[in-house]
């Protein structure tokens, strides 16, 4: 166990601005600067700035890179055009989820490459998984070049309806013209970086990868502009409430090595037909059995918030468990994601949640809980 926490290039800024810091994925991260609800609303209504430098960033180059990634991912990326981004999963031979990742196809002066962004807490595991598969793969198909760039870079997210205005201060490129899930290598505040139109909040927004040494200068500029537009910096606590409202899974909660992406409702990110990848055959079996627990959204009529691990009941019998829950700042209601037996997963199904010994009624609802208006 590594007891020394990693610090992002903005660590000093966060503590100087009153952030409550806590461990997340092996990093010391800002949980909140003030009110979680205020930070949440600022992102929905104006713009939120997030330090997400803890996310792992892996770069793959060479002719073998694309086919090698296709071998490991639940849907192929080798044929992606430059500038495209794809959400996919790394699965083990049993079809369980090793991680959920974003893969971007990019081009810089050295040529074409793939950027894979992985969860902080999974970086070591994913790196080991890639290394072990790479040596096996290289013997047969040639060796993909692979580099962990996490510590040389910072990653910032700018999210919310005013995100484009904030970013226009530091980027000259045609940001508004970028489609959702596209990315490009470009200059950010006169330094080489990567901009993608991606996020983890349910809002429109961008994520930036910049050299670690330049992160604080850039962050201060973004913070100043965001402040003028009603935005602010946002910690991981509000990042969690935002992603939960948007029904985005969080590894370790809605996903783990015993959960198939199909159970998680991520079938859109899994291509079984005409595709071959580690875990595919096991996943086909899961798809055929159809007797697994699956991910649902719950809204409770009570006032208590469901929390991870709370039992979900029907007629007093346990049919599942909550994996994430909170009091939704946008909806003003207790919301949760849970895994339940398939027969109770239909929208409208009435269940109850055992909230620390007291049952509160809840209903299976359509996900996401929140969808922004322009989509």
């Amino acid at each position: 166990m590594n007891l020394t926490l990693a610090e992002t290039p903005l660590h000093g800024w966060h503590t100087a601005h009153g952030a409550k810091m806590a461990e997340f994925g092996g990093w010391s991260m800002p949980i909140q600067y003030g009110s979680i609800v205020d930070e949440h609303h600022a992102t929905r209504r104006a713009v939120g700035l997030f330090d997400i430098s803890h996310m792992g960033r892996l770069v793959f180059r060479g002719d073998a890179a694309g086919p090698f990634l296709d071998h490991l991912l639940t849907r192929p990326v080798s044929q992606l055009g430059v500038g495209r981004v794809r959400y996919a999963l790394l699965t083990n031979a049993q079809g369980g989820t090793i991680d959920d990742v974003l893969v971007s196809r990019l081009e810089d002066r050295e040529g074409s490459f793939f950027l894979m962004v992985v969860n902080a807490g999974n970086l070591q595991k994913v790196t080991a998984w890639i290394e072990s598969n790479r040596s096996e793969y290289a013997d047969k198909e040639g060796s993909p070049e692979f580099e962990d760039r996490t510590l040389q870079q910072a990653m910032l997210a700018v999210q919310g309806p005013q995100a484009g205005k904030v970013l226009a201060e530091v980027c000259d490129g045609d940001l508004a013209g970028m489609g959702y899930y596209t990315a490009q290598c470009t200059e950010i505040d006169a330094k080489e970086g990567i901009v993608s139109r991606t996020g983890y909040t349910g809002e429109d927004g961008w994520e930036l990868v910049v050299p670690a040494a330049h992160a604080e200068t850039l962050w201060k500029r973004l913070f100043q502009v965001a402040g003028q537009l009603g935005g602010t910096c946002v910690g991981l606590a509000a990042r969690d409430t935002l992603r939960l409202e948007a029904a985005m899974p969080l590894y370790g909660h809605e996903l783990d090595e015993d959960i198939s992406p199909l159970q998680a409702g991520l079938g859109f990110a899994v291509q079984l037909e005409g595709n071959s990848f580690v875990g595919r055959d096991a996943m086909v079996q899961v798809a055929e059995q159809q007797d697994y627990q699956c991910r649902v959204g719950l809204v409770s009529s009570g006032r208590r918030a469901p929390r991870e691990g709370y039992p979900v009941l029907v007629s007093g019998r346990r049919i599942g468990s909550v994996t994430s829950g909170t009091h939704s700042p946008t909806l003003g209601l207790p919301i949760a994601m849970a895994y339940v037996d398939r027969e109770f997963s239909d929208v409208g199904t009435e269940v109850s949640i055992d909230m620390r010994g007291r049952e509160e009624r809840a209903e299976v609802v359509e996900l996401p809980f929140y969808r922004r208006e322009d989509t």
Binding site: I36, V37, A237, R304, A305, R307, T326, H327, P329, R356
Partner: protein, 134 residues
Amino acid sequence: MKPEELKYAKTHEWVHVDSAKNEDGGMATVGISAFAVEALTDLVFLELPEIGKQVAAGDSLGEVESVKAVSDIYSPVTGEVVQVNEELPEALQWLGEDPYGRGWIAKIRLGDASALENLMDHTAYSKLCADEES
């Protein structure tokens, strides 16, 4: 009530013992400290104890829930709950604005008063908070 004149549990509840009504062993007013409210932030729910409930020091007296997590409120004293702040669950902002006044949670008729000896004075409690913050 002045925070300097209160007693505190290490679980961040405050107590004020009304010595004027000491013939029954005394009446304790209980709440949660400004430090606790500040640490919780974004409160969304408060459950009060039932009137008539017998509690021992350290027993759950209710729960307070924030966006982030749910926390027990522990009784800092032993006795019987005789009154609760019924308006408080609908006015959670009082916990932040006036934690030692309008934000009181329950009044407890003291049974065994010896639990009071385990409580901290304001100086000791302030030190505990400073330690927790660092």
